[in-house]
């Protein structure tokens, strides 16, 4: 073995004898690296040669690992494909054990795929079925929440108050910073952008009207709802999803504690209570942002406040805030539903959180559109 010590390579020689016989002589090391270098060429040559009987001489193989065995397995498979035979000769005893452990009788092939058209049809069908199930689940869930919410309102002692306050803190109080920042920047940007158009008419002072109405009616509630959806909607889904995966939801159920009552309602109530407050906070900072821009144009603060008071009606304020109750219900409801629907597997919780945010945002925007139409007809 001393002679071979320096050998890091594997070499092979394919010799043809008469009568469809061939001898394949392998020498050197058969490890991961060396097998990689001889695999392609040797298997191709063997495929082309199609010998009836192949003798694989492996007596001079000084080292062999699983990769080496796999090469021999591949030769054998090629021989079987070509209706030939193979004899593996002189494999050293220490490698024979490896062979015994790893020898394959056959290869397991991957399950047959349906082909592109079949897959497409399969996916469309699956998508439609899922959509239907999703819809019925949401209707059912909405009804369940409605009934249980009503029960809780009639008998508030059944509500987990500590959880509700904790959720209110997480979803509301902890979101104050980001809400304020977003409100301030939106107010600032909106004022700045509209100023260019207004300036042309010498009507900078009306920027206050524009920004205030936009914020109160539309942007304030919408942006705060988006913050809630992305911060808390996803968190609800992830929390409930993790509990589902850990069988905690099952544990609650078998203890006779209703998961909806126990987990969903505190979150829903916390969200519904917090979103209007957050929205007001957001609006305050939006107006401050706008005010900063106005101040740079030397508009006195009192004038600015006066403008806002004139421009914004009580209808605008309450119309905007009324939306937030609906938005909060949608976000919390969807977040919790997605959490409870969590499947199994490592990506399930992440999928639920993503789905919660995506469907939450879509629901918010759709609801906002409905509100716009309703308000238009009501003349608010």
């Amino acid at each position: 073995m001393g002679v071979m010590e320096g050998t890091k390579q594997a070499t092979y020689r394919l010799e043809t004898g008469g009568d469809g016989q061939a001898t394949l002589i392998l020498t050197g090391r058969l490890d991961r690296d060396s097998v990689a270098s001889v695999w392609r060429q040797s298997t191709r040559e063997l495929r082309e040669l199609r010998p009836k009987e192949l003798v694989a001489q492996v007596g001079d193989v000084v080292y062999c690992d699983a990769a080496g065995i796999s090469l021999l397995m591949e030769y054998r498979r090629i021989q079987e494909d070509n209706q030939g035979r193979i004899v593996i000769r002189d494999l050293r005893p220490q490698f024979q054990q490896l062979m015994a452990l790893f020898e394959l009788d056959h290869m397991v092939s991957p399950p047959k795929s349906l082909g592109p058209v079949g897959t497409a049809i399969h996916n469309i069908g699956q998508w439609a079925a899922e959509l239907y199930c999703d819809f019925t689940a949401q209707v059912g869930f909405t009804g369940e929440i409605g009934v249980k919410l009503l029960k809780t309102i009639l008998r508030p002692a059944g509500l987990r108050k500590r959880d509700t306050f904790l959720m209110a803190e997480k979803a509301g109080v902890n979101a104050m910073g980001i809400t304020a920042l977003l409100g301030f920047l939106i107010g600032l940007i909106l004022a700045f952008q509209s100023a260019a158009a207004m300036e042309a008419f010498g009507a900078e002072i009306f920027v206050a009207d524009l920004v205030a109405i936009a914020l109160f009616r539309e942007l304030g509630p919408l942006i705060t709802a988006l913050v809630l959806a992305s911060r808390s909607g996803s968190a609800f889904a992830a929390e409930l999803g993790t509990m589902k995966v850990n069988e905690e939801i099952d544990a609650l159920t078998t203890m006779g504690l209703d998961p909806v009552q126990f987990l969903v309602l505190p979150r829903l109530i916390a969200a519904v209570c917090m979103l209007p407050l957050l929205t007001m906070f957001n609006l305050l900072f939006g107006l401050i942002g706008c005010g900063v821009v106005m101040a740079t144009w030397d508009v006195p603060v009192s004038t600015y406040i006066e403008r806002i008071r004139d421009a914004v009606t009580l209808g605008d304020v309450f119309g905007g805030l009324a939306k937030t109750f609906v938005f909060a219900t949608l976000i919390a409801g969807i977040g919790c539903l997605r959490g409870l629907q969590t499947g199994t597997g490592p990506s399930a919780v992440g999928d639920s959180a993503t789905r919660a945010v995506v469907s939450g945002i879509i629901a918010i925007v759709v609801a906002d559109g409905v509100f716009a139409v309703v308000y238009y007809f009501l003349g608010i």
Partner: protein, 254 residues
């Protein structure tokens, strides 16, 4: 060559921040040995394992794996040490988004130049060795607990390591499956000459597979016993070791 220890743990102190869990541990593992690390829950045996496979850095001491200190190894040296070890985690830790075959093929694809067909053959060979070839194209979520552990062992074997670390291989398995797993460990140890380090507290497993057992203790923060499992059971004077082996033994006998 066979007497050269493949793992040398020297003066190892492990813990979190200021809490010391194990203090000044010393032991060797010889090549081809099946070592069981025993201890009650919370005794630090899993922590010890995490240090031996380099996931956690000790407070002090060194762990030589085939001559290289895994504590200080960096870069290529670090990767070389990792090639020598395979780890099967307690719950399998199979990648849930991949088939069993892809789980095993992953490291082969990343670390070798082998062609795709070769990787597939090797992966199926490893699966065949643990008796799971038929499940090659299944997802981890479709497997039972015992099959997952087998698959985890197959994955740990992917790069032909010299040392295999198993974290509680029989935890949560029925006695039959557990015995099959023990059989697999023995077979791999016999046929491949692998060194095993197994964290466990399953007595039947310990007697079935382990050449040697060490026992760590939370109170004294050290190794309280080191020897053949039978000797520990029959001859140890240490109260904890006696408790460990006998209390449960009584239950098993009954």
């Amino acid at each position: 060559m066979a007497d050269q220890p493949i793992i040398q743990v020297k003066g190892l102190t492990v813990g979190y921040d200021s809490t010391v869990i194990l203090r000044d541990i010393n032991f060797d593992v010889r090549e081809g040995e099946v070592l069981a690390i025993l201890g009650g829950s919370g005794s630090g045996k899993s922590t010890l394992l995490k240090h031996m496979i380099g996931l956690k850095k000790p407070l002090s001491g060194s762990i030589l794996i085939d001559g290289t200190d895994i504590v200080t190894a960096q870069g290529q040296q670090w990767l070389d040490v990792l090639r020598k070890i395979g780890v099967a985690y307690q719950s399998g830790a199979l990648f849930g988004s991949m088939t069993i075959l892809s789980n095993i093929a992953l490291v082969l694809e990343e670390f070798t130049d082998l062609p795709r067909e070769a990787i597939e053959v090797i992966a199926q060979m490893k699966l065949k060795a643990v008796g799971l070839q038929a499940a090659a194209y299944k997802m981890p979520s479709e497997l039972s607990g015992g099959m997952r552990k087998r698959a985890a062992i197959a994955r740990a074997l992917a790069l032909d390591p010299k040392i295999l670390f198993l974290d509680e291989p029989s935890a949560g398995l029925d006695p039959i499956t557990s015995a099959q797993l023990d059989e697999l460990v023995l077979e791999l140890s016999r046929n491949l000459g692998l060194t095993f380090v197994i964290v466990t507290h399953e007595l039947p497993s310990i007697f079935a597979v382990a050449d040697r057992a060490i026992m760590v203790d939370r109170e004294s923060k050290t190794i309280v016993a080191d020897g053949r499992p039978k000797d520990l059971r029959d001859r140890s004077e240490h109260p904890l070791v006696r408790q460990f082996f006998h209390r449960r033994l009584e239950k098993v006998d009954a």
